[in-house]
């Protein structure tokens, strides 16, 4: 049943329903019908549907945003004289036109008066939210999604909006699989897989190390190799900086299940003490081998230290060590005190461009005593992971009504982001007890409980309950997913519990606390990532023959957008900073691509990145005091229109597209959404390398009525940015045979003359309510998870109208958004 038929059903029930449904009567007023029948229906009716548009069946429900937008489009076409087209047989008299427009405007105003804010449809957690939530819920950052976990569709402007959050069987299957994986971690079933193996020196020294130690591989040449390959034992280098050179024990072992493994080493120390005067010591570090490419994943700072063992000097002896390893992970061993701190570089940056092997050889040639290793055995599982024992206090876990009330119900309540009702509690506990009974062991009961919680609608859908204004728990949830892309933390839950979260003062303090928490990095990543195009930049294929391009440039583009956004957020700068600023960010690869004098080449940057395994972070540049050698165009890169990531998103990696750029500026900065081109109009094929044709080709738009209405707005904005190539580099002429000089002048429909990016910024700064409305709308759409309704638009109008004379600052606008009825209505 659709909404409107639902209302019709209620109609006879009373005058209240009648009043509410006034804006929903299916028929437009006669002034509107008369006009459309006379002037529109012959081309947009049962016989013809020019431009894919049919007016006689257009829903008349002006309180609903989709219907409203269609009629607003009709209004604007008639007002601006784009319809009926010149060649039409009949043209309305001025009076007819005015009657029609007035009738429409009056109906719009009436609908506005009646519309209420709110109306977010049911939405499930998106991929990012789901992962963050399960990690926070179980305090297990190790949780990963299976690689087959489907991506969300990108059919809406933001991935928090229900349009892209279809719950397909593939998604449900992934939910069930992930829930099972998590249950395996939290409450492992009895009879876990076992592992038992014993290894000699050759097997242990796999991969890179094999090259240095493998006794049977004779191909190695030179003095250095000869010295080492004759040994029948391995020596720990003690050079721990970059894992892969100090590590032993490679790709043989992968923990089949989470828990404790017994590792036995046949080893001896070459002396009684290491550099710190204590016995030589080996540390065990676990890591996820599927996380990173080979050299990178061995970095010790990304591994987790889980155990250590002291090695006595003298004859080799078997040494036992209990090592907890999570499923799918493996471990490395390092000698931790062969050298004193500082003797070798402590991190990869310090290693710098020097081949890391130089340091390794130094470490190996050093006379300092180390640990020798002759064999290793691994056996498991010998116990469940320590965190399992910690959570349940004993293992197997206790299973009773009271135990479930004290351990399971709080977990379920956090998972549902609200307290459970008594009947929900009862149902869950009964089912879990019954399952434990049937399966015959308490582990099964807990395993079942966790999977059941994680597959339930209460966990997967958020802020679902039908209500006008969100209650405090739903508010905590909406707020937390807005700024943290995850479930509320303990403090938010407590405030919701006490009912004080909805107090505007409390809420404001919470928003500031949340923005200061590192988790707000996710807001930067996901909101800015979608608003300013980083998600697109992450996947675009740029032609690396035409452009200075590699992954370091891509990284610089994405991070400079994030860093820029983050500065405006953290410093609570005026939102006008997004339009223009006196600073920007760039990394060394971007400087190389821009041809900055004295900058490292792309190859240099890439070499440094390869050795250090660390991407070059963008640094901040004050545009009014740029260092010498910086090209002039950098000076004009203030605001988001100067960010090359933004300019790259609108191209295809080969050519810039003035149309896509124009649409981007309209949608992302002006907040207007030109409809997609009708299906019956062929797309213009623009090849900017044949430059003479760019303007000529676009001219076709203004000559065709179908195109003109929208392209009058789109094309001038795109043309004004033509000095930027497909990756946002500066150009003054087109490449290709013609090589013609670029002309970045154009005229907007209201007569504003544009010339380059600066003129667009100027226009936006002079008409600041355009950008304020746009940014506020984007924040609310992302946070509240819906395309703004007719009632929402009125609230937005008020906030825009209340803009202080010095303009909104970014955090203040976020607070205003959250405190508004748009955010707080269901």
């Amino acid at each position: 049943m659709s909404v409107s038929s639902f209302w019709k059903f209620l109609l006879p029930l009373g005058s209240l329903a009648l009043a509410l449904s006034a804006g929903r009567s299916a028929e437009p007023p006669s002034d509107v019908v008369d006009f459309t029948e006379q002037y529109c229906v012959s081309c947009h009716g049962p016989d013809k549907q020019k431009g894919d548009f049919r007016i006689d069946q257009l829903a008349w429900d002006l309180g609903a945003i989709d219907s409203r937008e269609n009629w607003e489009l009709v209004h604007d076409y008639i007002l601006e004289g784009d319809m009926p087209p010149e060649e039409a047989k009949k043209h309305p008299k001025r009076g007819d036109r005015q009657t029609f427009l007035s009738a429409l405007e009056e109906a719009f105003a009436q609908a506005d008066r009646e519309a209420k804010p709110g109306g977010t449809p049911l939405r499930r957690l998106n991929r990012v939210e789901y992962l963050n939530t399960v990690r926070d819920l179980f305090e297990l950052p190790e949780i990963k999604l299976p690689l087959s976990f489907p991506e969300d569709a990108t059919s809406a402007e933001f991935d928090t909006m229900p349009e892209g959050l279809y719950l397909s069987p593939a998604v449900m299957e992934a939910y069930h699989e992930t829930a099972t994986n998590i249950a395996n971690l939290v409450a492992p079933l009895p009879r876990q897989p076992t592992y038992q193996a014993s290894y000699g020196v050759t097997e242990i020294g796999g991969d890179v190390i094999r090259r240095w130690f493998g006794p049977k591989l004779k191909k190695l040449e030179g003095r250095f190799w000869d010295r080492y390959e004759k040994r029948d034992y391995l020596m720990f280098t003690g050079f721990n900086n970059s894992g892969w050179t100090g590590a032993l024990w490679d790709t043989l072992f992968l923990a089949p299940a989470s828990g404790v493994y017994r590792v036995r080493l046949l080893a001896n120390a070459q002396a009684d003490a290491g550099a710190d005067g204590k016995p030589l010591r080996l540390g065990f570090y676990t890591f996820d081998p599927s996380n990173n490419s080979l050299p990178k994943r061995y970095r010790r700072e990304w591994a987790k230290r889980v155990a250590e063992v002291e090695v006595p000097a003298g004859e080799p002896t078997w040494i036992d060590c209990l090592v907890p390893v999570e499923a799918g992970r493996t471990f490395h061993i390092y000698c931790e005190n062969r050298f004193s701190d500082g003797k070798f570089p402590a991190d990869n940056v310090a290693v710098g461009k020097n081949d890391i092997n130089v340091w390794v050889r130094k470490a190996m040639a050093d006379p300092a005593p180390t640990v020798e290793l002759r064999g290793m055995e691994v056996e498991g599982l010998v116990d469940v992971a320590p965190r399992v024992r910690e959570f349940f206090e004993s293992w197997p876990p206790k299973l009773s009504q009271s135990e479930l009330e004290s351990k399971l119900i709080p977990l379920a309540s956090r998972a549902f982001r609200r307290p459970l009702s008594d009947s929900e509690k009862g149902n869950l506990i009964d089912a879990v007890l019954e399952h434990g009974e049937e399966a015959g062991s308490p582990e099964f009961a807990w395993h079942y409980a966790i999977r059941r919680i994680l597959c339930s609608t209460e966990f997967l859908y958020r802020e679902a309950d039908e209500t006008d204004i969100l209650d405090d728990f739903a508010l905590a949830s909406r707020l937390s997913y807005f700024l943290w892309s995850s479930m509320p933390d303990e403090e938010l839950f407590e405030l919701a519990e006490s009912g004080s979260l909805s107090d505007p003062d409390v809420l404001e303090l919470q928003i500031q606390r949340m923005l200061n928490n590192p988790k707000s990095q996710r807001f930067v990543k996901h909101f800015a990532g979608q608003w300013l195009g980083n998600r697109a930049v992450a996947n675009i294929n740029v032609c690396d023959i035409r452009y200075q391009w590699d992954e370091n440039v891509r990284y610089g583009f994405m991070r400079s957008t994030e860093r820029f956004f983050e500065e405006v957020l953290r410093e609570n700068l005026p939102i006008a900073t997004f339009i223009d600023s006196d600073f920007t960010y760039a990394n060394t690869a971007m400087l190389a691509a821009w041809g900055v004098e004295g900058a490292a080449t792309l190859a240099d940057v890439a070499a440094l990145q390869r050795h250090s395994q660390i991407w070059a972070e963008p640094e901040r540049f004050s545009l009014d005091k740029l260092p010498a050698g910086m090209p002039v165009h950098v000076r004009d890169r203030g605001g988001v229109l100067g960010l090359p990531g933004v300019l790259t998103e609108t191209g295809d990696g080969v050519e810039s597209s003035p149309i896509l750029r124009g649409v981007w500026v309209l949608e992302k900065l002006f907040g207007e959404h030109p409809p997609p081109p009708p299906k019956d109009v062929p797309a213009l094929d623009i090849d900017t390398s044949q430059a003479t044709s760019v303007r000529e080709t676009l001219k076709a738009h203004t000559e065709l009525e179908t195109c003109a209405k929208c392209h009058r707005d789109i094309d001038p904005l795109g043309l004004a940015l033509e000095n930027y190539d497909a990756i946002g580099g500066w150009r003054t002429e087109y490449v290709g045979a013609s090589g013609s000089i670029i002309d970045a002048t154009s005229t907007m429909p209201d007569g504003t003359q544009l010339d380059g990016a600066a003129s667009i910024k100027k226009h936006l700064l002079e008409n600041r309510e355009i950008f304020t409305r746009n940014l506020l709308t984007k924040l609310l759409e992302y946070g509240a998870g819906r395309k703004l309704s007719v009632g929402d638009r009125r609230v937005v109008d008020e906030i825009v109208a209340n803009e202080p004379s010095e303009g909104y600052r970014f955090q203040d606008l976020i607070i205003a958004a959250i405190n508004s009825d748009v955010f707080r209505a269901k």
């Binding site: 049911l122 790709t251 080979l294 089912a431 399966a439 597959c455 609608t457 996947n539 690396d544």
Partner: protein, 419 residues
């Protein structure tokens, strides 16, 4: 203390001409026509083309096929590619079987739902080691890369079962999974009462999906109850598994051999095998090579680099030839050979790794009952005017029984040359 020997080749010598056991044929036993199969193989570092195309009688990469008596069972094809961007380094190698539109479905996944409907696994994705850049051959309908199996022991467990304890655990997960889905669907009715009609419609997605997942779990449960086939007596995994990049060729050998077994016991009919970009020096035979696979691939036309590169690629092709020979020597249910009904595609979208060029892919189609002719040249000036690699895939699709006239950006085919 010695390197463990890797002599998996023996098992196939012992298994020559082994007839396909009807009991292993599962659901297809009653059907008279032999099932169709597809194997898609991509080497991420490309193939050295002067030795790849059989137009040169001395092409070194062809020799393993001739030696295995497969001289009439393949066709190499020159002149085809995706007509996409030509640069991009390694970034686009994964598009070999998807066509030039990045992140779209790969050929193997197009055929998997139908060809794989009656087998334990609809399709299997394998890699001879870890992948960089998340760039495996197979992509699902949403263009999501499907993670390949990189451990021979994992593939072995999938094909032959992984013991009684593991089976019981899986049975429990599947059975309890179905009852959990029943329970949460019942719980969801309470949410249905707390939301408006529009959201109730949206909630239908949940009920529908839950029901479908229950069906899928039931199907997996059925297969779990069916006994796994026994591995060939001649085959065993090495005592310790090492999936280090160094061991790429050894693991690849195991993948080829396990894939032959999987086809022989009809566990699966659609495969992809990715031969990853090797950043480490490989062990070839029992020798560690002097530079990494990747370094050799940037050979700069120097003989001292081309020769080791071709030696590595010859090892890949030796595995392929051994695999195909095993299929050729095994009878299918209709009396033809398994190879006659198995289309093997081998190629790379890295057409010239030394220059990172992506023009004129090395492509080979083998087995599958095509009209093989060792080599055909395509291109505007050749006897076959085709230019799109996907033209070949249209022909493959038709040969596999799909009524398709196009694939990705291709609307043509190579039927005249190959059928």
């Amino acid at each position: 203390m010695k390197a463990h020997p890797i002599h998996r080749r023996r098992f196939l010598q012992g298994a020559v001409a082994l007839p396909l056991l009807p009991s292993l044929m599962g659901a297809t036993r009653s059907k008279s026509a032999a099932p169709k199969r597809l194997v898609c193989v991509s080497a991420q570092l490309g193939w050295y083309k002067p030795d790849f195309f059989a137009s040169d009688p001395n092409a070194r990469l062809i020799k393993p096929f001739d030696r295995a008596g497969l001289g009439d069972a393949f066709t190499t094809i020159s002149g085809l590619d995706h007509k996409g961007p030509t640069g991009n380094g390694h970034a686009l190698v994964y598009t070999l079987f998807t066509g030039q539109v990045p992140r779209s479905i790969s050929l193997d996944q197009v055929v998997a739902p139908r060809l794989g409907a009656d087998t334990r696994y609809e399709s299997l994705q394998l890699s001879a080691g870890e992948l960089r850049n998340n760039a495996p051959v197979s992509h699902n309908a949403s263009g999501i890369p499907l993670p390949p199996i990189i451990r021979p022991s994992s593939l072995f467990a999938k094909l032959f079962g992984s013991g009684e304890a593991d089976k019981q655990r899986q049975q429990y997960i599947l059975d309890s999974g179905r009852s959990i889905l029943d329970d949460v669907a019942a719980d969801a009715k309470s949410l249905g009462k707390r939301v408006d009609q529009e959201d109730r419609d949206k909630l239908d997605e949940y009920f529908t999906s839950v029901r479908q997942v229950e069906d899928r779990l039931a199907r997996r449960r059925d297969w779990l109850d069916k006994p796994f086939p026994k591995p060939d007596s001649g085959f065993s995994l090495p005592p310790e598994e090492n999936v280090a990049e160094t061991m790429l060729l050894q693991n690849e050998d195991l993948m080829w051999d396990l894939m032959a077994l999987a086809i022989k016991n009809d566990s699966c009919r659609v495969f992809s095998l990715t031969i990853p970009l090797g950043g480490a020096a490989l062990v070839l035979g029992d020798q560690l090579m002097s530079a990494s696979y990747h370094q050799f691939s940037h050979h700069g036309n120097r003989k001292d680099r081309i020769d080791p590169l071709v030696a590595i690629e010859t090892a890949h092709m030796t595995g392929a030839a051994r695999f195909m020979k095993a299929l050729k020597e095994t009878a299918d249910i209709d009396g033809s050979s398994l190879l006659d009904n198995t289309t093997v595609l081998i190629g790379s979208a890295m057409a010239d790794a030394s220059k990172h060029r992506r023009v004129d892919y090395p492509l080979m189609v083998a087995g599958g009952g095509y009209r093989h002719q060792r080599h055909i040249s395509c291109g505007p000036d050749e006897s076959h005017k085709n230019e799109m690699a996907c033209d070949l895939y249209v022909t493959v699709l038709q040969k596999l029984g799909f009524e398709r006239e196009s694939f990705s950006s291709s609307k043509s085919n190579l039927n005249a040359a190959l059928l």
